[in-house]
Amino acid sequence: MELEAAKLIAAAIALLPMFGVGIGLGMIFASYNEAVGRNPSAAEVLDKKFFLTFALTEALAIFALVVSLIILFG
């Protein structure tokens, strides 16, 4: 296989973790919305935790993206 083609395939495979991160983010949003819907007065406390977990989970997708970009351009 040519090096260029192998690089493109590797860059695509490196993005597979997005699958899991997508599921994870969906679960975070779902449970946050459900919790706020059940108890709107708790929204202020939940907001902070929500943003923290959101950013921590989302960072994993960004890691995958960076690995993919390094394979492509690096």
Partner: protein, 241 residues
């Protein structure tokens, strides 16, 4: 058209070389200086004549103070009050770096791993040394949670040590990768606008407008996450679980 990675290039503005090392004053250093001077000037000006009924600037400075003070109180407790200046400085430096990067043609210094790794390693070393100073060798109990069965200990302790040592890496890569990926995405979509022509190029342009809003959220959020994780690491060193 410049490539999407061109924006992260470091250009020396005033070339300086000391003993064979390149210590030029670069665009990265210039934006760091701008961040420090503007934030320092802002806080000095708005708190020069504090009033009981605060003006706009004073409200902004005070709410920022309260935001970080609340974060320190929630995460470390009242023992953390003496570390408030450190946490506040970390927050302001990271936030200014992320936000100044949103100005068109500006340079985002937090998009370089050299900068974020420097910050993260400084925090990591400080926290580790603080832990040893406060608790001596008892600090190692951080790696062995209480109530773990003896059989599981050989498994748990290496994992805990590893997850402790990996902290500066994840802390720095998270910030750097988020900023780099975000700015890269903006430039890639701006490139689509150019190559698709005037009629179709409007679509990625509108998408870019939404992305810029999202980038502002990420810029704030990553500064918040960086600060809160520093708080949590500090708490581990002070209280040992």
């Amino acid at each position: 058209m410049a490539g999407p990675l061109k924006q992260f290039e470091i250009k020396p503005l005033i070339p300086i070389e000391i003993a064979g090392y390149d210590v030029s004053f670069t665009n990265s250093a210039m934006w760091m200086a701008i961040a420090i001077i503007t934030s320092l000037a802002f806080f000095l000006i708005v708190t020069r004549k504090p009033q009981i009924i605060p003006g706009r600037g004073q409200v902004f400075a005070e709410s920022m103070y309260q935001f970080i003070a609340g974060m320190v109180q929630d995460n470390i407790g009242s023992k953390g009050r003496e570390y408030f200046p450190l946490i506040f400085t970390i927050f302001v430096v990271v936030l200014m770096g992320n936000m100044l990067g949103m100005i068109p043609y500006a340079f985002t210094y937090t998009s370089h791993i050299a900068v974020t790794m420097g910050l993260a390693l400084a925090i990591f070393l400080f926290v580790t040394i603080l832990g040893f100073v406060k608790h001596g060798t008892h600090f190692f109990s951080l790696f062995c949670p209480e109530g773990v069965p003896l059989l599981l200990k050989p498994l748990i302790i290496p994992i805990e040590v590893l997850s402790y040592l990996i902290r500066p890496v994840t802390l720095s890569v998270r910030l750097f990768a988020n900023m780099m990926a975000g700015h890269l995405m903006l430039k890639v979509f701006a490139g689509f606008s150019v190559t698709m022509g005037i009629a179709l190029g409007v679509i990625p342009m509108f998408f870019n407008v939404a992305l810029i809003g999202f980038e502002f959220l990420i810029a704030f959020l990553q500064a918040y996450v960086f600060t809160i994780l520093s708080c949590i690491y500090l708490k581990d060193a002070i209280e040992l679980h």
